[in-house]
C-alpha cells in the first residue's frame, strides 16, 4: 500500500491528511492532524510546522515519515490577511469641568449644588453658602467625618468629593446624609470656589439630572446658550453611577475627530475613488462595492492608515521577494467599533468609548513560492513533494465527502485570515473568491471593545462560551442555566467570569461583566462572518443571486466555532439554502477539507509524478 499525504497550509493552521492507496487503486484514509502554521503562510518558514504535522500523523500509524511515497501541497491562494485598528475620535475635558466615573462604592444617593471648598479651608466658609467639600487622601476618613460634623453645625455642607476610596466610611460617620463621591484621582486639579453640581445615583441606577442638559441647567442656573454648550458634558455622563459638573467659563467636553487619513481604491477599469477613514465602515464598504473589481488600494502617505497599508505590502514583498509594486491590496473589510480610551484632562481617570474603525486587508501576490517550500521539504525529509491543485477546488473536493452533499455545491471556507467561497456546478466549472477578514479580525474586535490586555484572552473568548462562578459549587451559564460541580472548584475562580473549555475553566482577569462579553462576542462575529459570507456568496452565485446556490458546506477552522455556523444558517435560511457545518469524511468535522481533497485528487489524476 502506498502512503500519500495531503498538506494544507492555512493562515493559522497547517492540516495534514494521510491516505493509503492499495494496488487495486482503492483509497483508505488513515490519519489526520492539525497544527499551528509556523511563519507567514506561503513562506519557507512553514516547513517546520509541516514537518511536525507529518511526524504526528505518521506516529499515529507507527511509521516513520520516510515511508510516505508522496506529499501533495496545495497551490495556496496567494492571499494573506492582516488587521489594524484606527481610533477616529478623541474626547477632551477642558478646565476640569466634570468628573464622571464609576466608583464601586459612592455613598448617599441624591443631587446637590454648592461652592467647591477644600477641607483645609473649612474655616473660610460663610454660613449662608452651600458647599461641596473636597478632601485629599492625606486626611483620614475619621478626620474628614469629624471636621464635617463640626462644620455642619455652623455652615451648610451639601456634598463631598474624596480622593481615597472611603465614601461609605465617611457617610457612616456623618450625622447628616449627603452625596459623597470617592476615588477621584486628581483631586488637586478641582478648582476651588467655583459652583458645582454633584449627583450620586441610586444603587443599580445611573445619574439622571447631570446626564440631562436641562437637568444641569436647572441645577446650575444656565441660560439657553450655556445649556446648549453643556450638552456634550451631559452626553458623556450617560450611564455613570456618580457625577460632578463644575461651572467654569471655558470648561467643556469636546469630541475631536482625528485625522485618520484617506484610502484610494483603484478599480480594474482604472477609476480611482477616495474616501476618508473617519467616515466609518459603512460608506467605505459601499464605495468598495461600487468600485467593482479592485486593482489595488493605497493609503494617504504619512497617515496611520497609509502606514498600515504600505506596511502590509512591504511585509509581503519581503516574504515573496517580489519587486516593489507587484503586491496589491485587493480587498478590505472595514468594521465600526468602539475602543475604551482614557479621556485627556480627566480628574478620575475616566475612559470614553471612542469611535474606531477596524480593518482587515488582503494582499494578492502573483504567486506564493510554494515550489520553494516543496523543494526545502524534499531536501529535509527525502520524500518527493508535489505542488498540486488549487486551494478552492481541493476544498470543494474535500467538502464533497460530507454525507448528503451534491453538485452544484458551494463551500464557504471560514479561516483565520480570509473568508473564501467557491462553487462547482455539474459541468465542473469552478468559481471562487477571497474576502479579507475572518477569525483574526473577530479576535481583534473583541480585544479592542473589551479593552483586554492580551490577544490570547480575546482568542479564547471567541472560542468558548462564558459562565460566572457564583460559589465553589455552582456556576451560572450564559443561557441562564445553572451548572453544579461534583467537587469544590479552585478557589481562585470564586466570583469570576470564566470561559468554559471542554475540560477546564479559564479565568478572565479583566473586570468585564459576563453580559458585556457575550454581546461583544456575538456582535463581532456577526459583523465579520455574516457580512463577509454574504459578500463572498453574492460574488460566486450564478447571476450574483444568492438564491441560485442550492447548498453550502461550511469548512475551515472558524466553522468549528460554537455559534458562527448557527448565525450563518439563520441568515441563509432567508434565501432557502441548505447550509451547514461540513463533516469531512464523516469524521473530521469542518476541518481538513483541503488536505483530504489533495489526497482524493491523487486518485482521480494522472500519476506522471511517480
Amino acid at each position: 500500500m502506498k502512503l500519500i499525504a495531503g498538506v494544507d497550509i492555512g493562515n493559522s493552521t497547517t492540516e495534514v491528511c494521510v491516505g493509503g492507496v492499495a494496488s487495486d487503486g482503492t483509497l483508505e484514509f488513515l490519519s489526520s492532524v492539525s497544527r499551528f502554521t509556523t511563519g507567514t503562510k506561503g513562506t519557507v518558514d512553514n516547513v517546520a510546522g509541516i514537518k511536525t504535522a507529518l511526524e504526528m500523523a505518521m506516529e499515529k500509524l507507527n511509521r516513520p515519515v520516510g515511508d510516505l511515497s508522496l506529499i501533495r501541497i496545495n497551490e495556496a491562494a496567494p492571499v494573506i490577511g492582516d488587521t489594524a485598528m484606527e481610533t477616529i475620535t478623541e474626547t477632551i475635558i477642558t478646565d476640569s469641568s466634570m468628573i464622571g466615573h464609576n466608583p464601586s462604592t459612592p455613598a448617599g444617593a441624591g443631587t446637590a449644588v454648592g461652592e467647591l471648598l477644600s477641607i483645609r479651608h473649612l474655616g473660610q466658609g460663610d454660613t449662608g453658602t452651600p458647599y461641596i467639600v473636597v478632601a485629599d487622601r492625606s486626611v483620614t476618613y475619621e478626620a474628614v467625618a469629624e471636621l464635617l460634623n463640626k462644620a455642619m453645625e455652623r455652615m451648610q455642607i451639601v456634598g463631598v468629593i474624596l480622593q481615597a476610596d472611603e465614601a461609605v466610611l465617611v457617610e457612616n460617620r456623618l450625622k447628616k446624609k449627603i452625596p459623597i463621591i470617592d476615588e477621584v484621582r486628581n483631586v488637586d486639579m478641582i478648582p476651588e470656589h467655583k459652583m458645582a453640581a454633584i449627583e450620586v445615583a441610586l444603587t443599580g441606577d445611573s445619574v439622571r439630572m447631570l446626564s440631562n442638559p436641562y437637568g444641569i441647567a436647572t441645577l446650575l442656573d444656565l441660560d439657553a446658550e450655556d445649556t446648549k454648550a453643556v450638552t456634550p458634558i451631559a452626553k458623556s455622563l450617560i450611564g455613570k453611577s456618580s457625577a460632578v459638573v463644575i461651572k467654569t467659563p471655558h470648561g467643556n467636553v469636546k469630541e475631536n475627530v482625528l485625522p485618520a487619513g484617506e484610502i484610494t481604491i483603484v478599480s480594474k477599469d482604472g477609476n480611482r475613488r477616495t474616501i476618508n477613514i473617519d467616515e466609518g465602515a459603512v460608506p467605505i464598504m459601499n464605495l468598495l462595492e461600487e468600485s467593482g473589481e479592485i486593482q489595488d488600494m493605497v493609503g494617504e502617505a504619512e497617515t496611520n492608515v497609509g502606514n498600515m497599508l504600505s506596511g502590509i505590502k512591504n511585509n509581503m514583498e519581503n516574504l515573496t521577494s517580489e519587486q516593489t509594486g507587484s503586491v496589491h491590496i485587493t480587498d478590505i473589510l472595514a468594521v465600526d467599533t468602539l475602543a475604551p480610551v482614557l479621556i485627556s484632562g480627566a480628574l478620575a481617570g475616566e475612559t470614553c468609548m471612542e469611535k474606531a474603525v477596524g480593518i482587515a486587508a488582503m494582499v494578492k501576490t502573483k504567486q506564493l513560492p510554494m515550489e520553494r517550500i516543496a523543494q526545502v521539504l524534499t531536501e529535509q525529509i527525502h520524500v518527493s513533494v508535489k505542488v498540486a491543485g488549487v486551494e478552492a477546488v481541493m476544498a470543494t473536493l474535500g467538502a464533497m465527502t460530507t454525507p448528503g452533499t451534491t453538485l452544484p455545491l458551494a463551500i464557504l471556507d471560514l479561516g483565520g485570515g480570509s473568508t473564501d467561497a467557491a462553487m462547482i456546478d455539474e459541468t465542473g466549472t469552478v468559481r471562487m473568491t477571497h474576502k479579507a477578514g475572518a477569525g483574526e479580525l473577530v479576535s481583534m474586535l473583541i480585544q479592542i471593545e473589551l479593552g483586554l490586555h492580551s490577544r490570547t484572552t480575546a482568542e479564547e473568548i471567541k472560542k468558548y462560551p462564558v459562565g460566572r462562578v457564583e460559589s465553589l459549587f455552582h456556576m451560572r451559564l450564559e443561557n441562564g442555566g445553572m451548572h453544579f460541580f461534583e467537587e469544590a472548584i479552585d478557589p481562585r475562580l470564586f466570583g469570576s467570569v470564566v470561559l468554559i473549555e471542554p475540560h477546564d475553566l479559564i479565568k478572565i482577569e479583566e473586570n468585564v461583566a459576563m453580559e458585556k462579553i457575550i454581546q461583544v462576542r456575538k456582535e463581532a462575529k456577526q459583523k465579520v462572518f455574516v457580512r463577509n459570507a454574504l459578500r463572498a456568496l453574492r460574488e460566486i452565485a450564478p447571476e450574483h443571486n444568492i438564491k441560485k446556490i442550492p447548498n453550502i458546506v461550511l469548512v475551515g477552522g472558524s466553522a468549528e466555532d460554537f455559534e458562527v455556523p448557527e448565525m450563518l444558517m439563520e441568515e441563509l435560511a432567508k434565501y432557502k439554502i441548505v447550509c451547514g457545518r461540513g463533516n469531512i469524511r464523516r469524521t473530521e468535522g469542518p476541518r481538513n477539507a483541503v488536505a483530504t481533497g489533495l489526497v482524493l485528487s491523487y486518485i482521480g489524476g494522472k500519476h506522471d509524478d511517480e
Binding site: S104, T105, Y141, D165, E166, A167, V168, L169, N172, E470, S471, L472, F473, A488, P491, R492, F494, G495, S496, V497, E509, N511
Partner: protein, 214 residues
C-alpha cells in the same frame, strides 16, 4: 584508641546526665513569653446568619501578649484598616479571637465557619493574613498573604475590601503582593519566637471567643 564496653557505658552515662540536666532547665522555663492569659470568663463566639457579615479571626496572643506585627505596625491600626475595608464595601465586620489554633489557615477557616456570609479573615499576631471561605479545605484559601514583613496598612485595608467583595460574590482582583526571598532569612528567628508566643496562648477548650463587642 581502644574501644571497650566500659568506655561505651561511660560515654552513655555522661550523655544521659547532660540530657537530664537540660530537661531540668527546660521545665524551669516553660514559657518564652508572659504567663498564659485565662479566657475562662469569655463569651464563646457563635455562628451568625447575617449575610452581610465578614468575620475576622485574630490569633490567641492578638492585642494582649503581642501588640504589634513583626515589623512593628500596631495591631490596633491593622485591625482598624481591615474593618474599614470591609465597611467601605457595605459589609459588616465582626472580630473574634481563635484560641483553638495558632495556624493562620485554620484560624481563617474557623472565622469563615461562623461568618454569616461564609467568608472570614485569619489574622496572626505577627501580621500574616488569609481570606478563607467555609467550604474550603483548611490549607486551601481564597487569598493568602504569607510574608507578614511585606504587608502595609494599605494592604490590610485592601484585604478587608477583597474579603467583603468575596462575600458579596463580586468579581475580585487579587491584591498585588510583594515577594522578597530575603525576608525569610531576615525575619525567621523573630517569626518563630512570635509564633511560639502565640501558640503558648492556644486553649482548645475555649475554641473561639467574642473579641470586640459590636
Amino acid at each position: 584508641m581502644e574501644y571497650n564496653e566500659e568506655l561505651v557505658a561511660a560515654i552513655t552515662k555522661a550523655v544521659l546526665q547532660q540530657i537530664n540536666e537540660q530537661n531540668v532547665s527546660q521545665t524551669d522555663r516553660q514559657h518564652i513569653g508572659s504567663a498564659k492569659t485565662s479566657y475562662a470568663n469569655a463569651r464563646l463566639a457563635e455562628k451568625s446568619t447575617n449575610p452581610k457579615e465578614v468575620v475576622v479571626g485574630v490569633g490567641p496572643a492578638f492585642q494582649r501578649e503581642i501588640k504589634a506585627t513583626i515589623t512593628g505596625i500596631p495591631l490596633d491600626d491593622v485591625l482598624r484598616n481591615i474593618k474599614a475595608g470591609i465597611e467601605e464595601e457595605g459589609m459588616v465586620p465582626r472580630i473574634v479571637k481563635v484560641l483553638k489554633t495558632s495556624d493562620v489557615d485554620f484560624m481563617g477557616l474557623e472565622a469563615a465557619k461562623i461568618s454569616g456570609s461564609g467568608v472570614g479573615i485569619g489574622l496572626q499576631s505577627k501580621g500574616t493574613a488569609v481570606i478563607h471561605q467555609k467550604d474550603l479545605y483548611p490549607l486551601s484559601n481564597l487569598e493568602l498573604f504569607p510574608q507578614a514583613p511585606l504587608i502595609s496598612l494599605e494592604m490590610y485595608r485592601a484585604i478587608g475590601k477583597n474579603a467583603a467583595k468575596y462575600a458579596k460574590g463580586e468579581k475580585v482582583t487579587p491584591i498585588e503582593t510583594q515577594n522578597d526571598p530575603m525576608v525569610r532569612a531576615k525575619y525567621q528567628v523573630k517569626a518563630a519566637l512570635m509564633h511560639i508566643r502565640e501558640t503558648e496562648q492556644v486553649d482548645p477548650k475555649i475554641p473561639i471567643i467574642v473579641w470586640e463587642e459590636a
